[in-house]
């Protein structure tokens, strides 16, 4: 039995350390889903936190808020560098917006990571009254995945080479390009851990 405290950065014993961007939003829910898979995920709020992690989840929340906090925390540039170097990332909702190459209805000063060639429209499904839940047929999963969409981004274009893993009413809602997976819904809001498991086992 090692005497190293859990989460103290001894990656050799525990495999890749997964981080969750914890500036704002549903980061704790992602950590809970990962914990139920036995994965102790680190909250990332500063560049020092970022240095420790090998993969990152970008949670849902307000993308305008996260964008501002990425700048003030000094995380934006080092994170952009790590992502450009191929760090695996799973972005949900606001996280999808941060990863997209093109965003409509964003604030003019909102910056992203240009990681996956898709066009998304912020709040493209409408206001909260248009938020919804539905069952999705996801490639690679035997049974449907129950998905919660909250003021979700609408995927309006998917570039060549981007894999579509799930659609809702013919609109892609879960897409992947290599190490970048993004969802317009919130797998962290249900007890179903299969998408988190898919991300973890890909590391």
């Amino acid at each position: 039995m090692s005497t190293t405290p859990i989460g103290a950065g001894d990656l050799s014993a525990t495999g890749p350390l997964v981080g969750v961007l914890a500036l704002q939003g549903a980061f704790a829910a992602h950590q809970q889903r990962l914990a139920s898979l036995g994965v102790d995920a680190a909250a990332v709020r500063t560049p020092i936190d970022l240095e420790r992690v090998d993969a990152l989840i970008l949670p849902g929340g307000e993308s305008t808020t996260m964008s501002m906090l990425l700048a003030t925390s000094g995380l934006f540039d080092p994170l952009k560098g790590r992502l450009a170097d191929g760090m695996p990332v799973f972005g949900t909702c606001a996280g999808m917006i941060l990863c997209a190459t093109e965003v409509f209805d964003a604030r003019a000063d909102q910056r992203g990571f240009d990681l996956i060639d898709i066009t998304v429209r912020r709040n493209g499904y409408g206001r909260q009254l248009d938020s919804f839940e539905t069952d999705l047929d996801v490639a690679g999963l035997d049974e449907d995945f129950h998905a919660v969409f909250i003021r979700a981004p609408l995927v309006e274009r998917v570039g060549a080479g981007v894999e579509i893993l799930a659609c809702h009413e013919d609109v892609p809602v879960l897409v992947r390009d290599g190490r970048v997976t993004v969802a317009s819904f919130h797998p962290e809001l249900t007890d179903d851990t299969r998408l988190h498991e898919m991300f973890i086992t890909s590391l």
């Binding site: 939003g25 704790a28 829910a29 307000e62 906090l69 925390s73 604030r107 909260q128 919130h186």
Partner: protein, 294 residues
């Protein structure tokens, strides 16, 4: 449940989850709403007067004019909340028709019903309600609230009541996790709250919906204090736009709410913000808004 269902409880609660770690700011004009969004607010509360002015003016405080709410909806891309009077379900119906993202059934407005709160399950729009203690929080949740905010004392710039209410709610939740199953019946009776919700807290240690803090927060340190005491996000009402220089204060409170355990960052963002709102002591108050609601 397979096709495409709106207005469900998970969908309502989901928006509250997305606001965690954030700051919801009271705004009275589209310009203020833009300042709030620029500063990183996760949502704005659209109202005609901030609580400090409602307190000063006296009289009956009601739902805001729809024109003013629509102006603010048109000015920002973040969620827009608005207040209905306690028990005034028609004001809530109007707010839902306007497409607001969250309704605050708020003690800051003059109550319309001294016995009944709104049946919030009857709506597709999510509701937030105030609470001074755990029993009140659980009664609001049993009526369908998707978010609870500790009440504090709005419009005072004084954090003392917010601290009292948060400590009461969080403290009782901690005690319930230590109780044995037989004691939970007594807890439910004492709190005047549904037993299943008390049993859920005993298992999870948390409220069934997100717990935010409101009422009297005026500084970045106040926001971080609320977060360290167990709030999952904060509302700042009069504290921003009644201060000398709202924009930098708003941004500093957003940063403090994210980095609430990092005293170096809190020290950095607290510098040079100008004068906060003056604030008032609890013994100077004629009306305690927190006493409204049952």
């Amino acid at each position: 449940m397979s096709a495409h269902t709106t207005g469900t409880f998970p969908v309502k609660r989901g928006l509250a989850e997305m606001m965690k770690g954030g700051v919801i700011m009271d705004v009275v004009t589209a310009d203020q709403a833009k300042i709030a969004e620029d500063a990183g607010a996760v949502a704005v509360m659209a109202l005609e007067r901030v609580p400090a002015d409602i307190r000063r003016d006296g009289g009956v405080a009601r739902m805001s004019d729809p024109v003013m709410i629509e102006d603010i909806q048109g000015a920002v891309s973040i969620p827009v909340m608005a207040k209905a009077r306690i028990g005034h379900f028609v004001e809530a119906q109007i707010l839902q028709a306007l497409g607001v993202d969250f309704v605050d059934e708020s003690e800051v407005l003059t109550p319309a019903d001294e016995t009944h709160h709104i049946d919030k399950f009857a709506f597709d729009v999510p509701f937030v309600c105030g609470a001074t203690n755990l029993g009140e929080a659980l009664r609001r949740i049993s009526e369908g609230a998707a978010m609870i905010r500790s009440k504090g004392e709005a419009g005072t710039g004084n954090v003392v009541e917010a601290v009292r209410h948060l400590r009461s709610i969080v403290g009782d939740m901690k005690r319930i996790t230590q109780a044995d199953p037989a004691e939970l019946f007594e807890w439910a009776k004492r709190l005047q709250a549904p037993l299943p919700l008390v049993q859920e807290i005993a298992t999870t240690g948390e409220l069934p919906v997100p717990l935010f803090c409101a009422g009297g927060l005026a500084t970045p340190a106040d926001a971080a204090l609320a977060m360290q005491l167990g709030a999952q996000a904060v509302f700042v009402g009069s504290g921003i736009f009644k201060s000398d220089d709202p924009a930098p204060r708003a941004k500093a409170i957003v940063e403090a709410t994210t980095h609430f355990r990092d005293a170096d960052i809190l020290a950095k963002v607290s510098r040079g913000l100008g004068a906060p709102m003056t604030g008032i002591g609890m013994d100077e108050l004629d009306v305690h808004y927190a006493d409204r609601g049952w």
